[in-house]
Symmetry: D2
Subunit: 206 residues, 4 copies
Amino acid sequence: MSDDALGALIINCTLKASPEPSNTEALARIVGGQLAARGVAVDMVRAVDHDIHPGVSSDEGDGDEWPAIRRRVLAADILVMATPTWLGQMSSVAKRVMERLDALMSETGGDGRPVLYDRVGGVVVTGNEDGAHSIIAHIAQGMIDVGYTVPAQAWTYWHRGPGPGPDYLDDDTGHDWAHATGETAARNLASVARALKERPLPAPAS
Amino acid sequence: MSDDALGALIINCTLKASPEPSNTEALARIVGGQLAARGVAVDMVRAVDHDIHPGVSSDEGDGDEWPAIRRRVLAADILVMATPTWLGQMSSVAKRVMERLDALMSETGGDGRPVLYDRVGGVVVTGNEDGAHSIIAHIAQGMIDVGYTVPAQAWTYWHRGPGPGPDYLDDDTGHDWAHATGETAARNLASVARALKERPLPAPAS
Amino acid sequence: MSDDALGALIINCTLKASPEPSNTEALARIVGGQLAARGVAVDMVRAVDHDIHPGVSSDEGDGDEWPAIRRRVLAADILVMATPTWLGQMSSVAKRVMERLDALMSETGGDGRPVLYDRVGGVVVTGNEDGAHSIIAHIAQGMIDVGYTVPAQAWTYWHRGPGPGPDYLDDDTGHDWAHATGETAARNLASVARALKERPLPAPAS
Amino acid sequence: MSDDALGALIINCTLKASPEPSNTEALARIVGGQLAARGVAVDMVRAVDHDIHPGVSSDEGDGDEWPAIRRRVLAADILVMATPTWLGQMSSVAKRVMERLDALMSETGGDGRPVLYDRVGGVVVTGNEDGAHSIIAHIAQGMIDVGYTVPAQAWTYWHRGPGPGPDYLDDDTGHDWAHATGETAARNLASVARALKERPLPAPAS
């Protein structure tokens, strides 16, 4: 990559296996498109299509498909966690991905810095009711714990309470807001990712 | 009171002083009306109208108006915390009330039981965007910590994301759902309050 | 069962498959012992030993082992969710179980009441650092959503911050507190379960 | 200020008015000292010493002391929110400060960018039991909402569960970890603040 080239990975944490349509993927693609429009190479994975074993090491043995996703995480300057909402909370698939990222907290480079430093994280949430702010809080906290920097307003969501109702793909209401917010997220993710390339986080001794 | 008589206190934790109209009060009154329809005597207080001092004791000295509210809390079998949503979270006024309830955790009767045992708690949330489930989680947890039992589905909310929009009093959409859910909350609060009067929580030694 | 007989199910949501020792199971067994001492028949399952498919229906098809666990959930008056802490949050296994319980929210009996009504829920959390109160908040909220009543102080935890440190099974510090708190949880779970048997939650029309 | 000069504001959200000793201030001063060692001018305010009115506008009228604190917020490149823990959650004083920051979300400069852009936020939590990760999640989310960027690992905490116990100022255990973690937070806050000065977040049109 040139100094300026950035890569992003979007992990779609829907509960639905491919090829079932995913509301979360639809909104995540808006953010992905806005990243691409700013020169970012965008990779996307639907986590539930892979057998990600429970555990908090980087490789949980035979059949664990996390190591391949982990390589894509490490290749990306920008990580976007995209999740549906169940009971007002992130999906179990999103929680599993966060758990597996946990192992990376203690992996450091030759300079003693966690390997995830100088990367940025964002969040996309969909649901038909309520829960986005809390999910953003908990995913952002986990990302910050393991080494990501979370830029200002680096998230978007689509929710439509009160109570159950149509999904994102069934109802155009509020798409304008969710897409404009997603554009802001993409703009800030790309810009802060570039800022951290130019001025990396310091090593522990400094 | 007769054995069957129940009392409820609704604490409205809006940021707006009386007589400004409060969306939260409007939805809380729906729950209050449903409690009254089940023979519950309903008291209501707008917390921000009172000078509730910071602190975690039951009386924070000169000018602290919590002791008078605390007496109304202790007179009620049912406590309903009603709060608006700011940044997806409960109001600072609701947080202040929860903090002051904290002192009651270590106050016990002659039988060694916390004074708030055998009481039930419910939650009402309003806002124009998102955040109700998380607020319900955190208020319920605080109530359970200090001695309240939280009945099944003892909450209602009105939120209308994605993004900013009209308030509860400005938009009739979803009122049916919020009111029916509030009726369920009232029904379960009154019933579990009666169940705990009939079979109080045991003392520590038992 | 006699009118008085109660059953409990403890779901251990550790990430470690049997027969690996589980800190969470160890603390959950304290609560289980205290339930048994009060005449409750205690069942326990380690969720990660079973292939619980992603999804929010009650049966996600071929190979899904949730339906068998669901039957044990429905046979229990008391559900104890026991989880370790990762990144300060519940495990992905606990989140998966909560998601599968979600389907039960809309399953009702002939009287129109959700099938999980009249049951009580409690929480056990272990970890070496911090996060128990928030996990209790989110599990309690999910349980309350689907129809459980959460009794006063129906939880215990063992955490030992600041920062990483020994696990529950490696360090006796604070066991007295965690066990006494677990005894209170068991006492209140059994008592409120009995109270709800005697006075069930009302049906919607009432 | 020279291009390189940075300013930080630490808001101590203890419930105790000056001159009562504050555990939160003690740990926050560690982070402040580490910021100063990196050339950052450090300002500190104890919020509870000021009459910060409830509300979500930037000036809530006669006697409101927020406008003066708001000026100090706007003068700072780095904001550190420092809070004690009550019921496992941030203090009502911290919640009040976050609410007042909310008004800044919709204040923009001539370029259409929120006035809080290009600033970074960090968190310090103290308590004698549990709750830090969740508090960090909710404060970080609020900061990110209003325009702050939250750098990797930009927090520290001191908690010492299970159950109640000594405070930070009463017990040296774990100070090494909390201080080293606070040094990392300061290092990353100063570095990302500099990175955002060099490469500011883009304006909406870009």
